[in-house]
Structure formats: C-alpha cells, structure tokens
C-alpha cells in the first residue's frame, strides 16, 4: 500500500468530506423538519389530506434513493426544475429521509401517554398548545434514539450523491482512484472518514439522550 498520494489528493478529499458533512447535516435537518410536518399532518389533518401524505410516504419508501435522485436531477428539468448537483442532492436527501423521519415521529407521539394529553384538554388547553407544550417535547424524547439511528444511516446514503456528481467524499475518492489506480487506499480513507463521522454522531447522540431524559426516568 502506498499512502504518499494523499499529499496530492489530501485537500480534495478534505473538501469532499466537508461536502459530505454539509449534505448530511442539511439533509438530516431538513428531512427531519419535513418528517415532523408530515407526522403532524397525519395526526391532525382531515382524512383526504392524510391519504395524500400516506401515498407520498409509500412512494418514497418504496423506491430506491438512486432512482429518486435520477428522477429529480435528470427528470426535474422536464418540469422546469433545473438544479445544480449539490442543491439537487440536498433536496433528494431531504425528500428521501422525510418519510422515515415522519414514521419515527409518529411512533414518538404514540409513546406519549394519552392521559397526559387528556389532562391538558381537561384544563382547557388548545390543541396547538398541547402539541407545543406536551406532545412535541415528550414525543421528541421518545423518538430521539431512533432519530439518531436514522441520521447515522443517512450519513452513508450521501455516497450515492456522487453519482449525480455532487463533489462529496465518495466523488473525490472515485476521482482519485481512477486517476491513480489506488482503489484500496482511497476507499480505506473513505471508510476511516465515515467511521469518524458516525462515531461522533453516536457519541453526541448518546450524551443528548442522557441529558434530556434526566428528569423522565423514575429513580428509586
């Protein structure tokens, strides 16, 4: 193995890694936000709206991410949606993650004991206030482990963005491999970068979990 080539490709790889982190972070945050909206619609909207949203969930969950990206990137211009690779990738990642996040939120909401919501109703709270003050804080806590888990899964979905030429880490590694034929070294470095990213997320996630569940766990 020969790692000397990294002197030449190091900066490009680092830049790729930065793009990977950017795509992941934005895609996750936006996907979560969209997922949350979907979960709330499914809980409160009238039935026809829920059906439409359910269809969206089924379609996105039922098709491969790569196909969704192709449709968005190559099919988008047909309906006037012309996006550069990076924004297209971000949008794709957001859409791809949203139904999974929506399901996670839905189960988080279901974990909030109904009695605690009834207590709020009995006192005369509006449904909006109940969502904001009771359902969201408690539901998010229950959903947190699954949210972190899916965010970790999403880190690795970012490599697919290389296929539509988003200059993220996988893209740079591919370029380096084809130019130098150092496939093994390049991919080992890729693995190392991902391992660092995932490990960091899971550590931060665990910390967050301990912190926000501090008061919720019965101590004896």
């Amino acid at each position: 193995m020969d790692f000397s080539i990294f002197q030449q490709y190091g900066p490009a790889l680092l830049k790729g890694f930065a793009n990977t982190i950017l795509c992941w972070a934005l895609g996750t945050v936006l996907g979560m936000a969209l997922g949350l909206v979907i979960a709330l619609i499914q809980r409160y909207a009238p039935r026809p709206v829920r059906w439409i949203v359910q269809a969206y969930i089924e379609i996105i969950r039922g098709t491969p991410f790569l196909v969704q990206l192709f449709v968005l990137y190559y099919g988008g211009p047909l309906i006037g949606l012309r996006l550069d690779a990076l924004p297209a990738g971000l949008l794709g990642l957001t859409i791809y993650g949203s139904p999974y996040f929506a399901e996670i939120f839905r189960s988080g909401f279901r974990a909030v004991p109904h009695g605690q919501i009834e207590a709020a109703r009995a006192i005369g709270m509006t449904e909006m206030t109940i969502v904001r003050r009771i359902l969201l804080p408690l539901g998010l806590v229950s959903a947190l482990p699954a949210l972190i888990n899916f965010s970790i899964i999403l880190t690795k979905e970012t490599v697919i963005l290389s296929i539509i030429t988003v200059p993220e880490l996988m893209y740079q590694v591919n370029r380096m491999s084809t130019e130098t034929f150092r496939y093994l070294e390049a991919n080992l470095v890729l693995a190392l970068f991902f391992w660092v990213l995932v490990e960091t997320i899971s550590r931060v996630g665990r910390r967050l979990e301990t912190r926000i569940t501090k008061h919720l766990i019965e101590r004896t």
């Binding site: 009695g115 009834e118 207590a119 109703r121 009995a122 006192i123 804080p137 408690l138 919720l216």
Partner: protein, 256 residues
C-alpha cells in the same frame, strides 16, 4: 368560591354495540360531594368523563349550572372554544395522575394558569406555589414527577386542578393507583377541599371516604344508575339486591 351544580338527564353512551351508559339520571348539588361506586366496568368513570366531555355521550343531557356541555343543541357539537371555556372551571384528577413528566411540580401547576388563563409567569408561579403549599408540598415544588411518590404526584395533580379555581372537581379513582400507605394523604386533601364547599364528584372504591365525606352516594352497575341516596342509606341499608351483593363482596375482600 362559587360552586357548580351538575344535572345529568337520560344520558346514553355506546361503544359500538356495547351500551355503556343507560339512561343515567343524576343530580349533583352545589357544594356537595357525590361518590360514584360500583363494580369495575359499571360505567362510573365513563359517566364522570361525560361531565367534562372527555367522553362524548351519545344522547341525553349533561348540564353544568344549567349550561349543556359538549353540544349546542341535541346532535350539534359545541365549538372547541366553547368547550374549552367550560372546561376551565371544571377540575379533573385522574387515576394515573397524568402529570407532565418534563415539568417540575411548580411548572405542572403553573402551566394551565399561563397557557389557559393567560396569567404572567410570575403571578402564575405565585398562585401555583400557593396551591402546592395547600396540598402540603411546599418543599417539593422544584421536583420533577419522577422524584415524587405516587401520593405526592396525586397531590400535585390536585393542586394543578385547584390552581385554576374550578367550581367543580371530578376525581376518577384518585387513590386506586396508590400504595395503601399513601392513600390517606390524598384523601385528606380531598376532605379539606370538600369542607371548603367545593362541588365534587368522586369515582372511588374507598368506601370509608364515601361513608364519611360524601353527601350522596350513587351506585352503578352495568351502565345503569341503580340507586342514589345518602351514604348511610346506600352503604348500610341498601334495598337493592345488586348493591347488597356488591357490598357483601367488598366486605369479604376487606375482612381478615
């Protein structure tokens, strides 16, 4: 404090084919304590929950101080805003306490004052702390529910309800989830409340409480209100065989 009256007229409730409440009639007088007793599944909790419309009755009328709750007219649901307005003066205490676990005792009690009554935070907390002091929890205000015993949690729940200055209090088996040694502290708070002239409707299995505190006791079985009278008439000289048999089982279970 002004106490509410409740009139329940011919109330029916169905869960699919199951007839949960059958033409129930009951008068609850202002400032009086009414205990609902009967075997489990008899409809006591369902009836209680119809009073603040947490449970929607299908026909009949429930009137609080003469005003129909849940419906504007038979078959025509009341707006959410109007229902919330009515619920503000009806306190409810649940079997499972239902405190909000992410808030301290003080925050639990202040929440309704801030979000529903619209009081400024400082004033809400002042009133909340007064309510908690009243139920004997002045030293536990900053605790989260996870750091309170069941009896303490239920007293916070009572404080949460009374801080809203209700004119009627509903109790749904308030001591059934408690360890026996914690039942007394909750019943004592309820007795104080009763002595202050609060209208109270209490679903309970605590016959001692019914006997000593209630002004009237209503016995339910299979969705029917079998009898309603003074505690001594219901608990000591019941004429209905269903009440007799319920009390016999109760005494057998509690004798040793």
């Amino acid at each position: 404090m002004q106490a509410s009256s409740v009139e329940i007229r011919k109330v029916n409730k169905f869960y699919g084919p199951f007839h949960a409440l059958k033409d129930v009639d009951l008068n609850i007088l202002p400032g009086k304590v009414t205990c609902l007793i009967g075997p489990s599944g008899s409809g006591k909790s369902t009836l209680l929950r119809c009073v603040n419309f947490l449970e929607e009755y299908d026909s009949g009328e429930v009137r609080i101080d003469g005003q129909l709750i849940g419906y504007d007219a038979p078959g025509k649901k009341m707006s959410g805003r109007k229902l919330r307005e009515m619920r503000r003066s009806i306190g409810m205490v649940f079997q499972q306490f239902n405190l909000w676990p992410h808030m301290t005792a003080l925050e639990n009690v202040a929440e309704g004052l801030i979000r529903v009554r619209g009081l400024p935070k400082a004033e809400a907390q002042e009133r909340a702390s007064a309510a908690l002091t009243k139920v004997g929890l002045a030293d536990k205000m900053q605790n989260h529910p996870s750091r309170l015993s069941g009896g303490q949690q239920q007293r916070v729940a009572i404080a949460r309800a009374i801080a809203m200055e209700p004119r009627l209090m509903l109790f749904d088996e308030p001591t059934s989830a408690l360890d026996p040694e914690l039942v007394g502290e909750v019943l004592n708070v309820m007795k104080t409340l009763a002595s202050e002239g609060m209208t109270m409707v209490v679903v309970t299995h605590e016959m001692g409480f019914a006997a000593h505190v209630a002004d009237q006791v209503a016995f339910m079985e299979k969705g029917e209100l079998v009898g309603c009278d003074t505690p001594s008439r219901i608990l000591h000289q019941p004429d209905d065989p269903r009440i007799q048999s319920f009390l016999r089982t109760y005494h057998e279970r509690n004798s040793f």
